[in-house]
């Protein structure tokens, strides 16, 4: 019996040691957003597609003396009766910041849809169809260019909508519910910022509306989140129903402008046609170079060869295309041989630290992609800076506009030169991440990272060196993964930095610096 007891105790002890399974996520349990400045004059900041914050009309709110406004305050008081644990959790979640939370939701959507379609029986590949989004393969396939554009459109639309919001907040000056009555518990950080229209509703409305373009299968899901955001902020005492209604309408109207723009930015044609894919190969061979081939089986058409033709949101397309670097090392050149050997040596070593770097930055299939990674990095730092929602949004817009442009110039360059990956040049090179199904030069990770680090270094100068180091590591990660040559990465970083500089200039001129 003694033996049995000892045995059981040992078992229990062992189980207890290994017991801790709860995972605390990075942005769980954040305090309510507490901006050091309300940015009261942000209504004057330079907008992206809107002519100004005043472009879309928002009617004047009822005066606070109006009986109907009083009724709205009673609605909030009603919502605050017996708040459940789940309702409180929902309030705390959204109170940490609307731009932050919608950015996280976007990253989740990108990861969810970032899966390459499985082949057809005959070895061809189906493409997601915007017109039939629920059929396999689900629309969209949010690969890095698609994701970069989606993040940028969402961030830019949110920014314009919030500038408009701040314009009307100042214009009408209707204060938050808790400033106009007693008996409302404030479950967000109290602020002097007027609550009409509600920034929460603007963000919810803008984002939900943009889903109609970007993630049509998620409209129902996102509308629920939008409703949760608004209801939670009403229950928190941050805004009344009319603050919400005005905000949501404004957000949706702004989003419509961006949707119209996006529908005409040529992204829809980026997949190309079988004839255009063959043309790329023929053109490359005609130059005497080894043309890229898909290393997938069956061979998959190249990813979005027409994405380089996408019209940027802000930067003139010709300025962007002018950033295309000169050619990569030529087929058969000593330089190419040297760079191939470098990649081979890296992968042969199977060095654990290099694999860590490769995987930390891989951001491949099933992830939020490299632009998502830089959004996560940015969000972490912005949380610490106690920014207003409008400033959050402005920073996210600069970051994501730069990364969309990075995607455009990267894809333009890739298909201009159409060169192969290291493992095409030397099949003995095995990789530590999936080999992307498009030409090598220039590295998308490097361009995204160069742009992001430049913009983030501008936004948070104290961290500029850290961002540069991160970008360099992200760039290096592609060499040690076995999927890029050093030229791809170094040129990518340079091009990315130039894209980033455009957005530094923009940041210096938008009135928000």
């Amino acid at each position: 019996m003694k033996k049995l007891n000892a045995f059981i105790y040992t078992l229990i002890l062992c189980a207890a040691i290994s017991c801790k399974k709860d995972i605390i996520e990075q942005t769980e349990g954040l305090a309510a957003l507490n901006p050091t400045s309300t940015d009261a004059n942000a209504g004057e900041w330079k907008t992206i597609l809107l002519s100004s914050g005043a472009e879309i009309a928002v009617p004047a709110p009822l005066p606070i003396a109006d009986k109907l406004y009083e009724a709205e305050l009673n609605e909030i008081k009603g919502l605050q009766q017996n708040i459940t644990k789940d309702q409180q959790k929902e309030i705390d979640y959204w109170a940490a910041g609307g731009v932050l939370r919608w950015n996280e939701i976007m990253r989740e959507l990108v990861a969810k849809y970032n899966l390459p379609p499985y082949q057809n029986e005959d070895g061809s590949y189906p493409f997601p169809q915007a017109a039939n989004p629920f059929a396999y393969p689900l629309f969209p396939f949010s690969n890095p260019p698609y994701a970069a554009r989606a993040y940028a459109y969402i961030a830019a639309a949110q920014y314009d909508a919030l500038v408009a919001t701040w314009h009307y907040k100042k214009l009408y000056g209707r204060l938050a519910p808790y400033k106009n009555t007693t008996g409302i518990n404030t479950k967000v950080t109290p602020t002097d910022l007027p609550s009409y229209p509600s920034e929460a509703a603007v963000l919810a409305g803008t984002t939900a509306e943009m889903m109609k373009l970007l993630f049509p299968t998620e409209i129902a899901n996102i509308e629920q989140k939008a409703a949760s955001h608004q209801l939670s902020m009403m229950r928190a005492g941050a805004a009344t129903r009319s603050d919400m209604l005005a905000g949501e309408a404004l957000g949706r109207a702004v989003a419509q402008k961006f949707i119209t723009r996006a529908r005409n930015d040529k992204a829809g044609a980026a997949i190309g046609t079988p004839a255009s894919w063959t043309q790329l190969e023929d053109d490359c061979k005609a130059r005497g170079e080894m043309a890229w081939i898909s290393l997938e089986s069956p061979k998959r058409p190249p990813m979005l060869p027409g994405f380089g033709k996408v019209i940027p949101i802000l930067m003139p397309a010709s300025d962007l295309i002018a950033l295309r670097p000169g050619p990569p090392p030529l087929t058969g050149s000593a330089q190419l041989a040297k760079e191939t050997q470098e990649v081979f040596d890296f992968v042969q070593k199977q060095d654990r630290e290099n694999i860590r770097i490769a995987h930390f930055w891989a951001d491949g299939v099933g992830t939020y992609s490299p632009p998502g990674h830089w959004n996560a990095i940015a969000a972490k730092d912005f949380i610490a800076q106690n920014l207003s929602e409008v400033k959050w949004s402005r920073n996210m817009a600069l970051l994501n506009l730069s990364m969309m442009d990075a995607a455009i110039i990267t894809w333009e360059t890739k298909y201009h030169y159409f060169n192969g990956r290291p493992c095409q040049v030397k099949p003995a090179i095995k990789t530590y991440t999936g080999t992307p199904n498009f030409p090598a030069y220039i590295s998308g990770h490097s361009t995204f990272s160069g742009a992001a680090a430049t913009v983030l270094g501008y936004l948070t100068p104290a961290r500029a060196d850290d961002y540069t180091k991160m970008a360099n590591e992200a760039s290096l990660s592609r060499i040690v993964s076995g999927i890029h040559f050093r030229s791809d990465c170094e040129e990518g970083l340079k091009v990315g930095k130039k894209v980033g500089e455009y957005y530094i200039n923009r940041g210096n001129a938008d009135g928000a610096q």
Binding site: L11, E296, S297, Y432
Partner: protein
């Protein structure tokens, strides 16, 4: 020799004189040896959908196990295993990996014996522990050499034998620790913003029956491992350590005393059903040597 090698996507139990059997070493006897195992699969279950993947072809692993058992007493044995594993994909560009996987240590206790009817009934209890020997990459399925978790298990084994024939039923609960991966976020059925991954606990069953006499064993078996949580691989996504990995295997095993101190083992098993799991075939062969550490009596 109590060994459960929960190895990577193709995880499979390598058997020698194992946790699931009723064989005990005598006090102060040490049995040391090695096993080589080769496993390979081409088809796998993506969730419950069976498929091939032309971009990895067949995934194989070569496994070298250094193993041993020591008799603390006639009733209590200690077992260990140290595996070195090399993986490879036959197609596509992904690199295989290699390294020391998880060291395991287990205790097996012959707790209860009783004559029942014409035969003997035997109840054994076991407890095991395994932990990674190196900081290997777990988040590169299906080419990782292991899952990276530290595991504890508790096991109950029932054995009934009549003359030279026996049947053994064994059941284990495997508790698995969280693991840390190299990236800061990952998607399961939602985005998780952490480098920590909660690994599903597992239930394992094994039923073996056959001939056992004078150190010679010939057995056929069926076994099952079932994850108690975890998620399915999405359509055309890569597998992940915390997938809900299930498998049912059938196998055969022989053990033969070449001379009194030298034992030859061999076996094979095959996955007949699975979920988020490779349809693995594994063959193994090994050699063990029994040393008596007892001081010579008088």
């Amino acid at each position: 020799m109590f060994v459960l090698v929960v190895c990577c996507f193709c995880s499979i139990a390598v058997k020698a004189q194992t946790e699931t059997d009723a064989i005990m070493m005598d006090k102060n006897e040490l049995c040391l040896g090695g096993i080589f195992a080769y496993s390979k699969w081409t088809n796998y279950w993506e969730g419950s959908l069976k498929r091939e993947n032309l971009n990895i072809g067949s995934v194989s692993s070569r496994q070298y196990h250094f193993m041993g058992t020591y008799g603390l007493s006639n009733k209590v044995n200690l077992l260990f295993n140290v595996p070195y594993i090399i993986t490879k994909a036959s197609a596509g560009t992904l690199s295989g990996l290699k390294g020391f996987q998880d060291a395991s240590l287990a205790v097996k206790w012959d707790a209860y014996n009783k004559k029942v009817g014409k035969g003997n009934f035997n109840l054994l209890l076991g407890a095991g522990f395994s932990t990674p020997l190196s900081n290997y990459v777990a988040d590169f399925q299906p080419l990782s050499i292991g899952m990276g978790s530290t595991n504890f298990n508790g096991r109950l084994t029932l054995d009934y034998s009549v003359n030279k024939f026996y049947a053994t039923l064994s059941n284990a609960y495997i508790r698995r620790s969280n693991i840390e991966i190299d990236r800061t976020t990952y998607f399961t059925d939602r985005q998780i913003q952490s480098n920590q991954v909660a690994m599903p606990d597992m239930m394992q069953f094994n039923f073996g029956t056959g001939y056992r006499f004078n150190g010679t064993i010939a057995e056929i078996s069926v076994s099952n491992m079932t994850s108690l949580s975890g998620f399915d691989i999405r359509r055309n996504d890569m597998p992940f350590p915390s997938n809900r990995m299930n498998a049912t295997m059938v196998g055969g095993y022989v053990r033969y005393n070449l001379v009194s101190q030298l034992i030859l083992v061999g076996g094979a098993n095959y996955v007949v059903a699975g979920r988020n799991f490779g349809q693995n075939t594994l063959v193994h062969a090994g050699l063990f040597y029994v040393i008596s550490l007892k001081k010579s009596k008088n």
